[in-house]
Symmetry: C2
Subunit: 324 residues, 2 copies
């Protein structure tokens, strides 16, 4: 079985929603964009053993590599549309594994309404390496960036924080203490299957001044907004949205708060908006929580973490995953 | 030194030609497309030890990973415009190697007038794995595909064939017999530094009925045109454009003709056009050679190879690189 068979059997069926994908049989795909719209492009590379566990289920790996890219599009306020997949497969290739991966991809792309339009299928003597490049659309000039936060803005985050970081600890058996089966399953799923905020992202156009998705951890990603916007931020720790599972873990081991603040992989949206728009934000269908405020630039203390008593808490050192 | 330093130091400067790249500091890039134009997207993944040699110079590896993608855009008749690079670097990362790679990328993108607009920078415990996704533009409905060849069409190829395949044999020391230093250098360069036919591709709009770039070898890539167009083809071997270096190798070892016919990596364009357009094709600035004709579909003999005496030559078995 050659690469063309694999493409024809497992991946070409995922391209049928987009005529410009040419059934994955040509050199490239062709995309039309309506006048007054812009294309938004992002690319994320996931390596086995680095971004996912080598024995994670193939279906969840597929969901993750697509989800993290759609999360980037959502953070720009873009409507997701299509993606390419370049996969370097360890040899000898395990076709039943590929079939499960493709089934996971099909399920995910159906949920998220995007279509495969191209890519590459090659062999590697290293770990499985998956690069998705995803395409979305926004109205001309309407893309959200990290650079628009203004002093006085509120700071918001969607969903809940720290689930994925504790999910990774759950899978690796590093969480001491009792964890109910339900909580363990919930945290594991949050690590393996990020839910890109594809509805929230586009709905923040005209509301948010800046946005980013939390892939590297709250402190690191807030740092990106601060750097690009030239502002500072104060986060009220008591207001962080935490799931029941995370609350129960923290009750046993409060030291894990640092993991909540710096752990990556949640893929929630972090954004800023003027206080005048609070009711617009409450009316959104995706749950969001106001967790702090944006201030004037402050090179000494760009991020202040405050506890429920109004006291400053040290910002954890390890502020997000660094590859090198 | 972390991934963000590497991006800021070595790759962000390559993005300055496109405002929508946002200096590689955001989640995604934003591209505008003029009304009446379509975007063309391709993605190729190159793995060290598979697509290039582990000790190839970093500058030529950079040139190759960009060039093979722009070649795909050219084969669609598209004007190249921008690209993303997702790189999985072996750890510990060698910054001086990365610097040379980035310098090669800068030189190549200047030659080919494209701009880096995004990507990803991650670590791997496997081989260097580089995925470029490239973006081009065509007029609405004007993209060339593999599917339009018609019986009666002439078959053309640009440049010369077999150089890259013999270049690989030259580097690996498998070419027996004398090879002048000039010829060895020429063949090696053709393997390491493909020249995407970025001028020829767009100029074939309105001329070619079908096109493909030769990455997998003449026989395999002609096979793709035949399959997608539902036709057959006859190739006159005596008319294949061969460089002086290839001719000199063939004089010593005529068995290598099979390598010329099936060897990949030339990245020349193979295309078909009606005989009425011969003078238009002669007038193009890129040298092309008429090497055969397209016939009615023939499931038994889809490709006929003919020698100078009009006798049929067996089609070599190994018709292009297969990964699995």
């Amino acid at each position: 079985m050659g690469e063309f068979d694999i493409i024809a059997r497992h991946f070409a069926p995922l391209s049928h929603g987009e005529a410009g994908a040419l059934g994955l049989t040509d050199d490239a795909a062709v995309l039309s964009i309506d006048s007054g719209r812009q294309m938004v492009v992002t690319s994320d590379c996931l390596v086995a053993g680095v971004h996912f566990l080598k024995n994670d289920p193939p279906e969840t790996i597929a969901r993750k590599v697509l989800g993290v890219n759609l999360s980037d599009l959502a953070a720009m306020g873009a409507q997701s549309r299509a993606y390419t997949l370049a996969a370097a497969w360890p040899t000898p290739i395990d076709e039943s594994w590929v079939a499960k991966f493709a089934a996971g991809l099909k399920s995910a792309q159906t949920d998220w309404q995007v279509t495969l339009i191209g890519g590459d299928t090659v062999a590697t003597d290293g770990p499985l390496t998956l690069t998705v490049t995803a395409f979305g659309e926004v109205g001309e000039g309407a893309a959200l960036t990290r650079a628009g936060a203004k002093p006085g803005d509120d700071l918001y985050v969607s969903g809940s924080l720290g689930d994925a970081a504790l999910g990774l600890l759950t899978i690796s058996g590093e969480l001491s203490g009792a964890l109910t089966d339900d909580h363990a399953a919930y945290l594991t799923d949050r690590y393996r299957c990020p839910q890109p905020r594809i509805t929230l992202g586009p709905s923040l156009q005209g509301i948010a001044n800046s946005a980013i998705d939390i892939s590297d951890g709250l402190v690191a990603d807030l740092g990106h907004i601060i750097d690009e916007s030239g502002v500072s931020a104060t986060v009220e720790i008591a207001n962080l949205p935490l799931s029941a599972a995370v609350r129960s873990v923290l009750e046993e081991n409060s030291d894990l708060l640092a993991t909540i603040l710096t752990g990556g992989d949640d893929y929630e949206l972090l954004f800023t908006a003027p206080p005048a728009l609070r009711s617009d934000i409450s009316a959104l269908s995706t749950p969001t929580t106001r967790i702090g405020t944006i201030g004037e630039p402050d090179s000494e203390t760009p991020i202040t973490l405050m506890d429920a008593d109004g006291n400053t808490v040290p910002t954890p050192q390890h502020s997000g995953y660094q590859h090198f």
